[in-house]
Symmetry: C2
Subunit: 351 residues, 2 copies
């Protein structure tokens, strides 16, 4: 039996009510709920409401801080450094994007480095709130309390998958890039492991350094690792990106792998540039519209599979979901129903 | 017979004299010469003095502007946008790094977007001038007048290889990352093509979309392409990076592929962050020293091939060259000797 279809507003309201009941104020609960649902609408199903039960557990245990504001470690008026106090990372990151957009309007560029954030979920989901304002936005993230990716040539993990997201406006849909320094993610590895499945390709290494597609290597002792972007062939490229992302997300905010692990969380770098303060937004869009059109016009390698722009499928999926409703990944609503019962919240009715 | 060994100072002086004779003032000639030689010292032999004959040709034809300063298109005091007027890109980029370092000290972050620069050579060579000052530096570049990399899934080129360099200080040598959105470079493709050699792996596509290691595909009509980072397996990652780099280097300065090509050149994004204005340089170095040590300690996949840090081999090579002298790539000095004869400059004596 397929999963039921839910109205987007009903789902967001339900998730917000769960987070409210778990101790978040209305603003925090609303932002976290909205952006988790956004991830599902965009098709990033490992980083949407699939995370909500985990977040509720962290709020219940106190591992996610429910109340208050981030502490400002330093602030030049252009770059702010925050201690996130393990507040909800989705809310912190959205707040950082909003601050950067306002400051970039004034200075052309602005950034926020965040240490001790809780998990920030789907990076792509934050991008439209900047691109809709005509901004160019970059979000990098890592989790210093975990490691699943080895440096190129090594077999013991040092890095998290280290996602890198970048969004910019065009003459049509924005381009929303959500990639990483590693070939695949922890979220996908955990899902395949739970479902007894394998990756399509040998994107992992055993602890002995043998390529494999089997996520069971993460349960070995010592565990296997995820290969950096470029794999065995040119993984020095992903390794370089991982070092860059960890320097920005852990080095700059001054908390990371050199400190005792604090559990599931994130270190974040948010940066916004305002094209209007460079050569102008119109000039920016003129260039990128040309480039986007040239990508679409590149004859496909496989007949019938035209070149896509990053974010294009996600935005189309999102538009359909806003009209037709959204079907969650199997098991996600079942987990939330258990939380709803515990917290005394009404479950939305699907169709 | 192997190429002779030259003293570094003699080689730099020789190159500077050539550029002086070709019309650059002392400051521009000195900076271009020094940074091309730096690239050779670091082992980036396709992007060092191998480029000098080409630059001299461009100065002779007027395609590289010899005199004057870049034109300021916009400047917020934190982000400057320059029209490079096709001045020597190596000099322009060094100037941008210096300006960003000074401004980052004040604002925490600073950036320069440059349109219509001439070619900027080796990105890694610029990084130490920022990391030596305790700064975190990023340099991205593209050339809107050329295209050799197709979007993932396509077969007609839209992008240049789009290099991405990133440097940061540690407790020892700096980490100097010089990577790109594509698996290999135009420089390496041209070298192998000229030498009748092939790549080790199938890093290219024919115009029909077949993977190949043969650089002769670039002489086909229509030409083949270089695969994005990640290759056929996960090349959407390199494709995303290419879009990011072209948005920053062409979109922001407002000159790019939408304009008529102006010949060999570059579009550049330089960005510097001062860790001292975030959580402090000491906190930055504490984190990154830990991460660098953890990378070195990751047991190697292949016995006897320990994990290296990006820039480590280059810095060691550079130190040796400063003592023992440098051997240029075969053919490079022969080309410069022809230029020296034309310009009436003494050729250094190797040993």
């Amino acid at each position: 039996m397929p999963e039921p279809v839910y109205e987007v507003a009903a789902l967001t309201g339900f998730a917000a009510a769960l987070f409210r009941a778990a101790g978040l104020d209305a603003a925090k609960a609303g932002t976290v709920a909205e952006l988790l649902v956004e991830a599902d609408l965009m098709g990033h199903t490992t980083h949407g409401l699939a995370l909500a039960a985990g977040y509720l557990g962290e709020l219940a245990s106190g591992a996610m801080t429910a109340e208050g504001e981030p502490e400002t470690v330093a602030d030049t008026g252009v770059v702010a450094t925050w201690d996130g106090r393990r507040l909800p990372g989705v809310w912190l990151t959205a707040k950082a994007v909003d601050l950067c957009c306002a400051r970039a309007k004034q200075h052309g560029i602005a950034a926020v480095a965040i240490r001790r954030s809780h998990h920030i979920a789907c990076l792509a989901a934050f991008l439209p709130r900047a691109t809709e304002r005509g901004m160019v936005v970059q979000i990098f993230s890592s989790d210093p309390s975990a490691a699943s990716v080895a440096p190129f040539g090594g077999t013991r993990a040092v890095f998290t998958p280290d996602p890198l997201a970048f969004g910019f406006p065009t003459d049509g849909d924005p381009v929303l890039i959500d990639t990483s320094a590693s070939i695949t993610t922890n979220g996908m590895s955990n899902r395949l492991l739970a479902e007894g499945r394998r990756f399509e390709h040998k994107w992992l290494l055993t602890a002995d350094g043998e390529p494999t597609a089997d996520p069971r290597v993460f349960t070995d002792d010592p565990p296997g690792t995820i290969l950096p972007t470029g794999g065995l062939d040119h993984g020095h490229k992903g390794y370089g990106l991982a070092l860059m992302i960890e320097a920005l997300t852990q080095g700059l905010p001054g908390f990371g792998r050199a400190d005792p692990p604090e559990g599931w969380g994130a270190s974040v770098w948010v940066q916004v540039v305002d094209p209007e303060r460079c050569a102008g937004l119109a000039a920016f869009i003129r260039q990128m519209a040309w480039t986007v059109a040239a990508c679409r016009a590149s004859p496909p390698r496989v007949a019938g599979e035209p070149v896509r722009l990053p974010g294009q499928a996600a935005m189309a999926r999102r538009r359909r979901a806003l009209v037709d409703g959204v079907r969650l990944y199997p098991g996600v609503m079942a987990a939330l129903e258990r939380e709803a019962e515990r917290l005394g919240i009404m479950v939305p009715v699907g169709s």
